[in-house]
């Protein structure tokens, strides 16, 4: 059996794909910043001297790590508005689901990094009169972040790919647009091949950039 590949329906619909790509990148950018940023706060709360902060942090991590992102997105979109009178757009629901899940995972990455720093580093900083916060900001986090950069890169890649889950609430991103094109033109082979390739083309340069960053940070070795 020979299949005749035909990419013309895709080319004809390039504007729809471009819209999807913009949607994907927009969702990725927001979730990357919120997920990795909030994750650091959660990690610090987990190391807090206040028991309540530690409990809240651990509860958050365990809840969002152990429930599927897909369910979370559906829950924020369909269930939350039934509990509280808010209107949730597909974009917001996807941000909530993906960011909170990523925060839970990255919190554990940050914690591992912070714990890997020798106690002598804290002591040396405290011994010249630095406060706990100054020590964290100037001494511990710069070293910890460097050590966990490969793990954070993994998280970033995961966030990019998780954006496809937003298609379930009809958020306009690449997969959503692809499905639409495929169902109108009966060409899933071409469409899903191209969608997959587009993800690779976006991600690979980003990953290369993090390698370059790792090399730059390795100056002090």
């Amino acid at each position: 059996m020979t299949y005749r590949w035909d990419f013309t329906p895709l080319l004809d619909n390039w504007q729809a794909l471009a819209m999807g790509a913009v949607g994907t990148v927009r969702l990725f950018a927001v979730c990357l910043v919120l997920g990795l940023g909030f994750g650091l706060i959660v990690a610090l709360a987990r190391r807090s001297r206040w028991r309540l902060a530690r409990w809240v942090s651990i509860g958050f991590i365990e809840f969002f790590r152990n429930t599927p992102v897909l369910v979370q997105i559906l829950w924020f979109y369909f269930a939350l508005p039934m509990l509280v009178p808010v209107e949730i757009t597909p974009f917001t629901a996807a941000i909530f689901g993906i960011s909170l899940n990523s925060a839970a995972y990255s919190a554990e990455i940050y914690r591992a990094g912070i714990q890997s720093i020798e106690p002598g580093q804290w002591e040396a900083a405290r011994a010249i009169g630095m406060s706990g916060l100054q020590t964290l900001r100037r001494i511990v986090l710069p070293q910890a972040l460097r050590r966990v950069l490969p793990a954070l890169t993994n998280r970033g890649i995961e966030i990019f790919k998780m954006t496809t889950l937003a298609s379930v609430v009809a958020y306009i991103e690449l997969l959503h647009q692809g499905k639409l094109i495929a169902s109108l033109n009966f060409n899933p082979l071409e469409v899903y091949t191209v969608i997959g390739a587009l993800f690779f083309l976006f991600l690979y340069p980003l990953v290369r950039a993090t390698y370059a960053l790792e090399r730059r940070l390795a100056r002090s070795d």
């Binding site: 040396a124 405290r126 630095m130």
Partner: protein, 260 residues
């Protein structure tokens, strides 16, 4: 009478239910150079670390220039001393410390290490802080290594950078916690020379060391720690040449066994 620069009054430290030392009293006058010696586990380093509160003493007070650190509060069943972070940070600026393992910040150059306290703690602008830091590096003979990262320095050079880092804060007292114990024997000399030069400037310092010979030449007073406290103290000649009490005698004899 002069108030001592540093006074330890009735200092206790326990780890769990094991008492490391109890009731330690010590007066340090300006210009004193005190060597603390003793067997492993006698609490030398712990005592030193209680002075700048890297370890929290369980009882007793640390008094710097007549001002007790921390505030006493009446509690049911006795008094309790509370320490707030701000006052400990201010104390630590006045009491410099040099560690056995150097503990340089590996992500900063030698110059960056020495500047860090000036910029972050003393809030100096970068340019004058850099000048001050360069002067301290020059004092320990490492001006040419200013841009080197710790990974590219020898152990002796790292320890000299660590000394410069402590000096940059202009401390009134310097604490040395076995500063040469982690060094290759060939590198011990350069660090001891640096400390000796600081001694010659009349700086006040407290040194925990296993280098008995160095303690003899450098110290104005020697403390021998044993049995949970200061077991014997006096001038280097008294404690190291003619110890009076049995544990001190055994300790010194052990150190002399292989001298030649």
């Amino acid at each position: 009478m002069d108030t001592p620069l540093l006074r330890l009054a009735g200092l206790d430290k326990r780890f769990g239910d094991r008492a490391v030392f109890s009731g330690v009293d010590l007066d340090v006058k300006r210009g004193d150079r005190i060597a603390i010696i003793g067997a492993s586990g006698s609490g030398k380093s712990t005592l030193l670390r209680c002075i700048n509160f890297l370890e929290r003493p369980d009882a007793g007070r640390v008094i710097l220039n007549g001002e007790p650190v921390g505030a006493e509060r009446q509690r049911s069943g006795g008094t309790e001393t509370r320490y707030d972070e701000g006052s400990l940070n201010r104390l630590r600026q006045r009491v410099g410390m040099v560690f056995q393992q150097f503990n340089l910040f590996p992500h900063m150059t030698a110059l960056g290490n020495v500047m860090e306290g000036l910029v972050t703690v003393k809030r100096m602008a970068r340019a004058p802080a850099g000048e001050r830091a360069m002067a301290e590096l020059a004092r320990v003979g490492l001006a040419d290594k200013a841009e080197a990262y710790p990974a590219h320095l020898s152990g002796g050079q790292k320890q000299r950078v660590a000394i410069a880092r402590a000096l940059a804060m202009e401390p009134e007292i310097l604490l040395f916690d076995e500063p040469t114990s982690a060094l290759d024997p060939a590198l011990v000399g350069e660090v001891l020379d640096t400390i000796q030069a600081l001694a010659a400037e009349g700086r006040t310092m407290i040194l925990v060391t296993h280098e008995i010979g160095f303690a003899y030449h450098m110290a104005t007073r020697v403390l021998f720690l044993a049995e949970g406290g200061i077991y014997e103290q006096g001038t280097p000649d008294e404690v190291l040449k003619a110890p009076r009490r049995p544990l001190t005698q055994a300790f010194i004899a052990g150190h002399r066994r292989f001298s030649f």
